[in-house]
Amino acid sequence: MHPFARLSCCMSSFAPISLDDLVAQIADGSLLAVPADYSGAPMAATRALIRRGAKNLRLVTVPQSTLQADLLIGAGCVVEIETAAVTLGEFGIAPCFTRAALAKTIKVVDATCPAIHAGLQASEKDVPFLPLRGILGSDLVKHRTDWKTVDNPMGAGGDPILLIPAIRPDVALFHAPMADREGNVWIGRRRELATIAHASKTTLVTVERMHDGSFFDDERLAAGALPAFYIQAVAVAEKGAAPVGLFGEYEPDLAHLRAYAREARTEAGFAAYLAREVGAVKAAA
């Protein structure tokens, strides 16, 4: 192979940036897509966003969320959330989400998992909607005025089907095991991360570590790679998903999550958690 063959077909030089510089690229008011907790929850970046004092974020959880959404909501960073569910799973309700939803300090746009996936897939194709079976008769359809029921245009009539509009996030943010020196990110079989990146205008990623070389030099790694041209920036954040787990890397810290579920039941408890685990919010410049 010509010594410059790889350079010529791929990116020019790439280097990770700092975590604070990464989250600085998420403008207040952004439509921000984040994955579920089994798929690389960007917890270090979430804490950095809270310290930055991010405001008016509109979250899209793909398709649900646990601690990440609860922290962002509790810290006052979120104005609206489209989600199929927010919960702490085995540890019960997500206390900040529940409080904010009831007090209507956030707007909850209730969805269902396949509709969020379909909305992102529509953006992947840059088409205005995708149809989905099922869901008709759910009260979600009544309240989601942006979802439309039409008669199947390919049928013989009398076959109602639901159309889900494209979801086009401003920013996708997730945590992954590694990025390479060309800026490609390895996501393994967590292909919803690829879908989120494809659908979003910008993708920001934190990783456990940098991988020397290119994933595309090894077909086994290439199969789990997300190409650099989808990715705006990468920051290294070791244990960046903790206390949530990271696929293939580490398990969730169950004691931490159990303690959070208890502590955040009161606003004072949540404030104490935030001060201890996240740190002070930086004064606005």
Binding site: A36, S39, V62, P63, Q64, T83, A84, A85, V86, T87, G89, E90, I93, A94, F97, T98, A101, L102, K104, V108, D110, A111, T112, C113, P114, A115, H117, A118, Q121, L132, R133, G134, I135, L136, G137, S138, D139, L140, H143, G158, D159, P160, I161, R189, R190, R191, E192, L193, A194, T195, F247, L254
Partner: protein, 244 residues
């Protein structure tokens, strides 16, 4: 059989609702349905696939979160379990909240994939441990997933049965009604009727839910809890504590 734990009875009872199928899937935070699916798999003569979304080992999807829903849309998943904070007599379930949406008095986590899975999966088994007028209501406050659909609406499946901590009720989607199928040991048909907020059909003779036999208990307490411990450590420790 006083030494049978309620969770063991429920797992065996859920397993008994599973017909001969190829693929059983279990959603989030469902340790008892997961135990039931694994029990069915271990006793089946033919090969049965079990997908437990909570697990890494029992989750072989490689194409992202949408793959479950796409596979289900194609009919590749035969059985799915759904819960409901409220369930009503027409098998509608509510996972969203109490009150008049969006003015809720109580907020639950959300709908997850229920409004979809309930349509595309042929055999949906409803499961709710708490059997009381609070959970089994005349009409749910919010329909997350309808129990039945009018003619002309495409629907492959839906709820077939409801298993609770007190009883098994079979659902007939054409009549839009439950019928009491059995009461668990220690329960009576009248007691179940009083604990249920909706009206259901009562047969003349109500059988008692069979308790799991020794072989079933051996599977639940042996290989199945060992598997569950990987992805439901808290549940495994609570129900099947490791002897000191």
């Amino acid at each position: 059989m006083t030494d049978v734990k309620p969770e063991e009875l429920l797992a065996a009872t859920l397993a008994a609702q599973i017909p001969d199928v190829r693929h059983i899937a279990v959603g989030a935070a469902s340790p008892i349905p997961a135990a039931a699916a694994l029990l069915h798999q271990m006793r089946a003569k033919d090969r049965v696939h079990v997908t437990i979304l909570h697990s890494r080992r029992y989750n072989s999807f490689t194409d992202g979160g949408r793959e479950l829903f796409d596979a289900a849309a194609q009919g590749r998943i035969d059985v799915f379990f759904l819960g409901g904070v409220q369930i009503d007599g027409e098998a509608n379930i509510n996972l969203v909240g109490l009150g008049t949406y969006p003015d809720l008095t109580q907020r639950f986590p959300g709908s997850f994939g229920a409004p979809y899975m309930s349509f595309v999966v042929p055999n949906v088994i409803l499961f709710r441990e708490e059997h009381s007028p609070r959970t089994l209501v005349p009409k749910v406050d919010f329909v997350t997933a309808p129990g039945w659909s009018p003619d002309g609406v495409w629907r492959r499946g839906g709820p077939k049965a409801l298993v609770t901590g007190r009883a098994v009720l079979a659902f007939d989607a054409t009549r839009r009604r439950f019928r009491l199928a059995s009461v668990h040991p220690g329960e009576t048909a009248e007691g179940v009727r009083d604990a249920t907020g909706f009206v259901f059909d009562m047969p003349d003779v109500v059988p008692t839910t069979p308790v799991p036999d020794a072989a079933t208990l051996g599977l639940l307490r042996g290989p199945i809890v060992a598997k569950l411990r990987e992805f439901y450590p808290d549940f495994a420790d609570r129900v099947f504590p490791v002897p000191a």
